[in-house]
Amino acid sequence: MSEQAAVEAFLFREARLMDEMDYSGWLALWDKDGVYQVPIGAGGEPGKVSIVNDDYPRIEQRVARLKSGSVLAVEGARGAMRRVVSNIEILSHREDKCEVGSNFILGVARTAEQQLWIGRSVHALRRAGEDFRIARKTVFLINSERELPLLQFII
């Protein structure tokens, strides 16, 4: 399989795990020192608040909370969801690591109203045998600087 095809297969798998709310499966994709961020705007400025800024222990906590089954906000935000991941490009390559950019459109059927989430993800992936692990994932929502409804699932 070409590098491009392998990367695409990995991102599609991640998308399916997120869509199906298989949070344990999603967590297993991560490096143990992974960093997951959803900045406000371009991000990267130290000392500025983010929407999500998780080190690995906090990714684990996020997953624990999403899975607990007793969190109101999670229950309320829960809805069937499907996303399309596209425009996948390998942006850079170094030894066993590559940086991958992609876009997504996510629809969430929540109550009568369908929500739309749109953004760009940048993954730093590390080769792990035939597979990859996520060393870093940064998600740039197109509306990150606007007033957001609750984001109580994984993007």
Binding site: I40, G47, K48, R65, L150
Partner: protein, 415 residues
């Protein structure tokens, strides 16, 4: 208007959350009348820095002029009322209206109308500067403005709540906060009044809706926030004249975390002691700073200033501005920001439960039956305080009753 009062003693009418007519009345009677929080001076540190804000539904800007003074103007061009400032924040040597190019100094004066030779009278520039809010004042960097030309002074409006504003600002070893870490913005489908009500009563609802988050937080930091509400303590819940609400934890000390304090924490403690003396510093560090609500739109909650912004009767924006402590070791502020991100914003672990509750509240409120909400907890034991307010035990609803008394006094006087 219905005959029954909108709220009285332990009863609140459902219509206050639901009736578009009352929302309009709130704009006139509350938002366009009292002092409203606009922003903190540290958000505009340099000459020309500006931020866009709202008072009720009216757009305003807060801008620091070249003379270093912070002013609040209506965000409306004096020519034909275009939004003079579109960006949400930025730096402007001068403010140029995009429509026909009228240019204002960042101190407000009209510098240059355009094609002014075409006006058939002498356009007096002095008469066409940006319109300042009729009243503007500040307290320790918190800038307030009022759309009404007359009314109480800011000092009168704030009254006793400054004691509690001081308490959290004094967490800074320099006695100054910095609101310079950006902001999270949240929208919810519910009335604006749920936000202050819910934000100031975490001890009552906390165990029901935040259990998972409090647990995770204790595991991570060693702080057990539920300890604050294990026993009911007198005078934690405070209502102040002016509709302000406080959760004052000075009588409810927390166990320090069992783990060894970091070097940064020790340095921070030493700095607080140097500034405030052993006794006061120890008292400040023994518990959580008060949570407070300054009527009608400002809150301080654990890590941040929170601003509630009504959009319509059933739609509200909420802004979360993390508060950094000037003079504190970098690690202390980093930990504050990290705690903030853990708890707050759309993807946080705590406040989304509150927002979810507010949205469900708006739905529940559509069912009439007996259209009264009951806020009677602790009514039989509330105490009058020297500041003119009243106090109750940890989970009492004394402060909500104070909020509603003030609300009714504004909404129902001088029909």
């Amino acid at each position: 208007m219905t005959d029954a009062p909108l709220a009285q003693d332990a009863v609140v009418r459902g219509s206050v959350y639901r009736d578009p007519g009352l929302f309009q009345r709130e704009l006139e009677r509350i938002w366009y009348r009292v002092w409203v929080y606009v922003g903190h001076e540290s958000e505009v540190p340099k000459p020309g820095d500006f931020v866009r804000r709202q008072i009720g539904l009216q757009p305003v800007i807060m801008v620091r002029g070249n003379d270093d003074k912070v002013r609040v103007f209506y965000n409306r061009c004096r020519h034909r009322a275009n939004l003079v400032c579109f960006a949400e924040r930025g730096v402007a040597k001068s403010i140029v209206c995009p429509y026909h190019g009228w240019t204002y100094a960042n101190t407000g004066e009209l510098v240059a109308p355009t094609f002014d030779d075409g006006y058939d009278y002498d356009l007096e520039k002095e008469r066409f500067g940006l319109t300042p809010l009729p009243r503007q004042d500040s307290y320790r960097g918190l800038v307030f403005a009022s759309v009404a030309a007359e009314g109480q002074s800011l000092a009168e409006h704030l009254g006793g709540v400054t004691e509690f504003l001081d308490l959290f600002m004094d967490l800074s070893p320099e006695g100054e906060i910095a609101v310079d870490a950006g902001e999270q913005k949240v929208v919810y489908r519910g009335n604006w009044k749920y936000m202050p009500e819910n934000s100031m009563e975490g001890d009552y609802h906390g165990p029901f809706i935040h259990g998972v988050a409090f647990d995770l937080y204790a595991k991570r930091t060693g702080f057990d926030v539920t300890a604050l509400a294990t026993d009911e303590v007198p005078d934690v819940i405070r209502s102040l004249p002016g509709g302000h609400m406080v959760e004052d934890y000075r009588g409810a000390p927390m166990d320090p975390p069992k783990r060894q304090p970091s070097a940064a924490r020790l340095e921070y403690i030493a700095k607080l002691k140097a500034r405030h003396g052993e006794a006061k510093a120890a008292a400040m560090l023994s518990t959580m700073a008060p949570l407070l609500y300054v009527f009608p739109n400002l809150m301080y909650v654990i890590t941040h200033l929170r601003v509630v912004q009504p959009v319509s009767v059933d739609r509200t924006h909420s802004y979360y501005f993390p508060v950094m402590l000037k003079g504190a070791p970098a690690e202390i502020n980093e930990a504050r920001l990290s705690d903030h991100e853990f708890m707050f914003g759309s993807a946080g672990f705590v406040s989304p439960d509150d927002v979810e509750i507010m949205e469900r509240n708006q739905v529940g409120m559509q069912a009439r039956g007996d259209d009264r909400l009951y806020i009677g907890r602790g009514m039989h034991r509330e105490r009058s305080m020297p500041d003119g307010g009243r106090s109750g035990m940890t989970r009492d609803e004394t402060h909500l009753r104070g909020f509603w008394r003030h609300y009714v006094s504004l909404m129902e006087d001088g029909e």
